[in-house]
Amino acid sequence: MHLNMKRSLISFLFSILSLLALAQDDLMNMLNQDAKPEINYTSATFKSTRIMNGHSIERMPPGQLDFRISHRFGRINSGAYEFFGLDQANIRLGLETGIFNWLMVGIGRGTYEKTFDGFAKFTVLRQSTGAKVMPVSVSFFSSIAVNSLKWADPERTNYFSSRLSYVSQILIARKFSQSFSFQITPSYVHRNLVETELDPNDLWAIGAGGRLKLSKRISFNAEYYYVANATTYLGQEVYNPLSVGFDIETGGHVFQLIFTNSVAMIEKGFIGETTGSWGKGDIHFGFNLSRVFSFKK
């Protein structure tokens, strides 16, 4: 009798347990039905809003302010007397922030031709997997630069419009893997005033840049712009800008070390006005320092 009761109790418990397990299965099914298939957006295609000189697909999110200090020193081939260019510094200070999660704006002032610049960059497409498959990210970049140098000839009639130049770029990037991203950047530069009738007001260029991750905090970056119709700039031969360097990430900072043949840090300057040549050793060492302040509560 005692034994029987024990047996029946055990079988009862087992049947409850199996019921519970069944119920759990149902619950899981119900949950699965409710959850919509997710879109996985690719993040951190590049670590910074710049690949090297040029913009990357990345943008600042709203509520975050990026204070950028960028330097390009003089030419390395200027020799030991000039401390391999380090005696001479060109700087750009910038403040950049996100307005919406698809729009970023920024302003800056650079030593190169005492230029003020303002830009807007907005996200058109985001690379994603899952419910929505998008192979690339696409952004549009637009900027205005104002050269604030004193007029070469103050006596002639000078127009403010002569100081202006515009840049538009389509940034197309893909993160191929955790360690490799690549971007293609068709670019258009308009200068309101050029020197001679033979110099084009409109420049067409295509940029290519990539990031190769070397370790958790360091990546190797390279960037090249092919300028289709560059001529000369202020009587000097113009070369295509090539930049190589490293991204070094520390908490809150991205530090980019750069070797480039361009001294300008804005699109208007390095596309079509790069007078340094890698072949001749006209290489500038420089860095971009990015410090992000967060205003989000």
């Binding site: 060109n90 637009s142 127009y159 419009s161 050029v194 007001n201």
Partner: protein, 126 residues
């Protein structure tokens, strides 16, 4: 909200283009200054000092030379006269002189020509 975003995006794309977009060249805009470089009335106060002020003083004024211009001062007549040959070499990018202005293109050829003329006529302080 979506419409607002689209409107905003359209404004940002169009904004740079509806503001002044010109196709000017100095050659066409200022035909007289390019074709006829003033080579007759080259004076220190009229041509040389303004050229130096516009292009050199951010590093080579009396105030900035020590910090940025390797101690080379180009503000006073006597200083310019003493360094005329090296200034000439630097702006023409010849010889072993450090090419100037740094990192930019050369000066306009008219300005270089006027500096040459000023040296040839004996560097007068006029």
């Amino acid at each position: 909200m979506k419409q607002l975003k689209v409107l905003f995006a359209v404004i940002i794309i169009i904004l740079p283009f509806c503001k002044a977009c010109y196709y000017d060249s100095e050659e066409a805009l200022y035909p007289s200054t390019i074709s006829s470089c003033d080579t007759t009335s080259v004076t220190f106060s009229g041509k040389i000092a303004p050229m130096l002020a516009n292009n050199c003083y951010s590093c080579h004024s009396n105030a900035t030379a020590a910090g940025f211009g390797a101690g080379i001062r180009l503000e006073d007549y006597a200083d310019v006269k003493a360094r005329a040959t090296s200034v000439q070499g630097a702006i023409k990018h010849t010889g072993s002189y450090s090419p100037m202005p740094k990192n930019g293109g050369k000066l306009k050829s008219c300005l270089i020509t006027q500096f040459d003329i000023w040296i040839r006529i004996g560097m007068p302080n006029n």
